[in-house]
């Protein structure tokens, strides 16, 4: 057993860290330090910087334009981005549909789509959930009717994150109503500028316009935009869902928030006039969260170790989404508590509260979604109960 990264890997980490420090524009770095929410334009600026360096798609194979990182390097790279608080790039092209196109796409599809995902020229979004198909994704109804050389698509997708900025959307659609509900689903790539597509932004609880309802009214989609086999979309969907789950367990974000919490606890004083960080009650609260984060992080390293050996991470990694999102919420709650009266502020003008507190409220609100999206934690527990603990079905 060896719980350390190799010296080469540590050197790589140092290189990445130094590069980020260098490459992140000062205005974005200021927002990163305050854990602020970035605008779409800011994300895209950072996307272009990473793309120019060749690091925008760390997990892509070299032939498709990836940097050729090892699994450990990919891990370290992502961890450093999270710790630095850089703008979180839109994952829909780079992390989700890109790899699916590589795996399931035709050569033509690969050539058409992959370079523009890399460059940022085309932004993607995801059309999965529908108003009555959330946790129960397979009961989706948006239909794609076969008209020879094209499909005609009708229906509605919801929770289409940042669809208002997207050039393309990938959708699960029903191409066959017969048989098991999972078996009649196909995976379609749809140009957001097609006639009949409309994305209506919807405010989140944090007041950011993150979600849309996206409507499809007799939208014509060329057959060439079918990814994978007809009626075979569920396989692609499952491949993605698994991926999404490991994404959200990442502890860098929690660690950065805990750092922010310590800053707040150093600046805020208690009823006794001493900084909160010197109060045993709060230092104990910090210790509890830090120990929990440590257990989470070691569990992630265990999964990484499996991955480095070319094995599938064991069943225990299925807990990462639950533990990670719980931690994100707990550290957000801690920050809110530490802020005292300042927690009453909402998107304050500069000077109303210390700069590093300004974004805590909206993030705290937004992070309520962490235990809901990507398969709610209740659904995750159902899955573990059934597939890992093999408890009987109802």
């Amino acid at each position: 057993m060896d719980l350390n990264f190799t010296s080469d890997e540590q050197a790589f980490r140092a290189e990445v860290r130094a590069w980020i420090h260098e490459a992140l524009p000062e205005d974005l770095a200021v927002k990163a330090r305050a854990s602020a929410q970035f605008t779409h334009d800011e994300l895209m600026r950072w996307h272009e910087i990473l793309a120019a360096k060749g690091w925008v798609a760390p997990a892509w194979p070299k032939p498709f334009g990836g940097p050729g990182f090892s699994a450990a390097e990919r891990f370290i790279f992502n961890e450093e981005l999270e710790l630095a608080g850089t703008p979180p790039l839109s994952p829909f092209g780079l992390v989700m549909v890109g790899p699916l196109i590589q795996r399931f796409g035709t050569d033509a599809q690969r050539e058409r789509f992959l370079p523009k995902i890399l460059s940022g020229e085309e932004v993607w979004c995801q059309g999965y959930s529908e108003p009555n198909a959330g946790s129960d994704l397979a009961s989706l109804r948006m239909s794609a009717e076969d008209r020879g050389d094209h499909f005609v698509v009708n229906g509605q997708k919801t929770w289409t994150t940042y669809a208002q900025y997207a050039d393309w959307i990938f959708c699960l659609v029903r191409t066959n109503a017969a048989g098991k509900k999972q078996s009649g689903i196909s995976f379609l790539l749809i140009d957001m500028r097609s006639k009949g597509v409309e994305a209506r932004p919807m405010l989140t609880i944090s007041h950011s316009p993150a979600f849309c309802d996206t409507f499809f009214d007799n939208v014509e989609v060329p057959k060439a935009n079918l990814l994978g086999p007809i009626d075979g979309g569920w396989t692609l969907a499952k491949a993605l869902l698994g991926h999404e789950r490991t994404l959200v367990g990442s502890p860098g974000l929690v660690r950065r928030w805990l750092r922010l919490a310590r800053e707040i606890a150093t600046a805020q004083v208690g009823d006794d006039g001493r900084p909160l960080v010197e109060d045993p009650h709060w230092s104990r609260r910090f210790a509890e969260l830090e120990m929990r984060l440590r257990a989470h992080q070691v569990t992630i390293y265990r999964a990484l170790s499996e991955q480095l050996k070319g094995r599938h991470p064991g069943p225990e990694t299925s807990i990462l989404k639950i533990v990670g999102t719980d931690l994100i919420q707990r550290v957000g709650e801690l920050c809110m508590e530490l802020m005292g009266h300042d927690a009453l502020a909402w998107l304050p003008e500069p000077g109303v509260v210390p700069a590093n507190e300004a974004w805590v409220g909206p993030s705290f609100c937004y992070d309520r979604a962490a235990t809901i999206y990507a398969g709610s934690n209740e659904i995750q527990r159902n899955i573990i109960a059934k597939h890992i603990l093999q408890l009987p079905s109802a």
């Binding site: 959330g134 989140t204 927690a343 502020a345 998107l347 109303v352 309520r368 979604a369 709610s376 527990r381």
Partner: protein
């Protein structure tokens, strides 16, 4: 041992509930929030005055009904249920009780009576940077001058501070803590209007040598003692309003569980969600118990009051927040949009659990009073 409301109290609760349902559903709060104005409506406020609600606990000589804090709490619970935006907690409980307790008859006549009528609104400016929830750690100064005082310093997160006609400001005089009534348009007073997390508004105050006449000092009772009592009224009021918020969230959630379908069945049939809803129900029931004790004890002078209030506020911060957070969770995706009301309640609960001291503050207060604390049973 009698927890029944008397008939007048029952009638009052019903009247307020009906008013909220027909005249101030959550949609009204949402409209006012989004309208970019001061966030509440003067006509509704005046109506509340006419109905007697703004003076329900105050003496007759200011136009009040001479009831007690129980009535105030009953009103707040109903206001909480539909997020009524008028500044009842800020103006009646914090500002109003400060005037009622510390003002002499002339001062009450001058500033409390118009508020009771709904002509004006008040605010209490007590919080300062670096003082957490302790109202006696005051950096604002009141320097005696010819005919009065000159106030300097800063106050933060003054609830309704953006809209109040008079601000009751705590400041340190050479002979100790004191309270002053400052007009909102006083020279050298700067008010910075703030958007708050719950969609309501407040203000930061900057006092840069604000001159006040001597008769604006409230000195009918010692200021520190009055502030202690008023913040306990505020905490008990926040609990009562929070009880309304929590019970509305529980209702919305059980209704959602009973209608929303996934996997071909109502999600409320899933046992794990049922048990979560029961845990919410438990916290609401305990919150109601604590709110009832706090509203009865709020008028008491001694440690019975502060123990009951702290226990209640702690339950709001722990149990109420549990209800709030689980309500959002059980609503799933729709729960984290701005368009669903559950998020509005969630944010109000967050604000209420901070106002007048959070769970940590009150747990520490309860802990440090241990031994003194007199639980409701003489059997302790």
């Amino acid at each position: 041992m009698d927890f029944d409301l008397n008939e007048d109290q029952q009638l009052l609760a019903k009247t307020v509930a009906d008013f909220c349902k027909t005249r101030s559903p959550v949609s009204r709060f949402r409209e006012l929030r989004d309208a970019d104005g001061r966030g509440w409506d003067a006509a509704t406020w005046q109506q509340m005055g006419e109905l007697g609600w703004l003076g329900v606990a105050f003496p007759e000589d200011v136009g009040g009904l001479e009831a007690c804090f129980i009535e105030v709490a009953l009103i707040l619970e109903q206001l909480g249920k539909s997020l009524v935006p008028e500044p009842y907690l800020a103006s009646v409980v914090l500002g109003g009780y400060a005037l009622a307790l510390a003002g002499d008859p002339a001062q009450r006549e001058r500033w409390l009576a118009p508020m009771v009528e709904g002509e004006t609104s008040l605010a209490l400016a007590w919080a300062e940077a670096g003082a957490r929830f302790d109202p006696t750690r005051v950096s604002c100064t009141a320097t005696p001058s010819a005919g009065g005082f000159v106030l300097s310093g800063a106050k933060r997160f003054v609830l309704n501070g953006h809209a109040a006609d008079q601000l009751i400001v705590s400041a340190m005089t050479p002979d100790g803590l004191a309270l002053f009534v400052v007009d909102a348009d006083a020279p050298k007073l700067t008010r910075t209007s703030l958007g708050l997390i719950d969609g309501q508004r407040g203000a930061h105050l900057q006092l840069e040598g604000v001159a006040v006449e001597a008769d604006r000092r409230l000195a009918a009772a010692p200021a520190a003692e009055v502030l202690g009592r008023v913040l306990d009224y505020g905490a008990a009021g926040a609990v009562a309003e929070g009880l309304g918020v929590a019970s509305a969230m529980l209702d919305l959630t059980t209704e959602y569980l009973g209608t929303r379908e996934q996997f071909g069945v109502k999600i409320g049939s899933f046992q794990a969600l049922q048990h979560r809803a029961v845990d919410m129900f438990i916290e609401v029931a305990l919150l109601r118990s604590m709110s009832m004790e706090a509203m009865v004890r709020a008028d008491e002078p001694g440690p019975e009051r502060s123990a009951a209030v702290s226990a209640a506020k702690h339950q709001l911060g722990i149990g109420g927040q549990f209800v709030s957070r689980q309500s959002v969770q059980l609503h799933g995706g729709i729960g984290v949009t701005d368009e669903h009301d559950i998020g509005l309640y969630f944010k109000r609960m967050q604000a209420l659990s901070t106002i007048c001291g959070d769970a940590t503050h009150h747990a520490q207060r309860y802990a440090s009073a241990a031994g003194e604390s007199v639980p409701i049973s003489p059997a302790s």
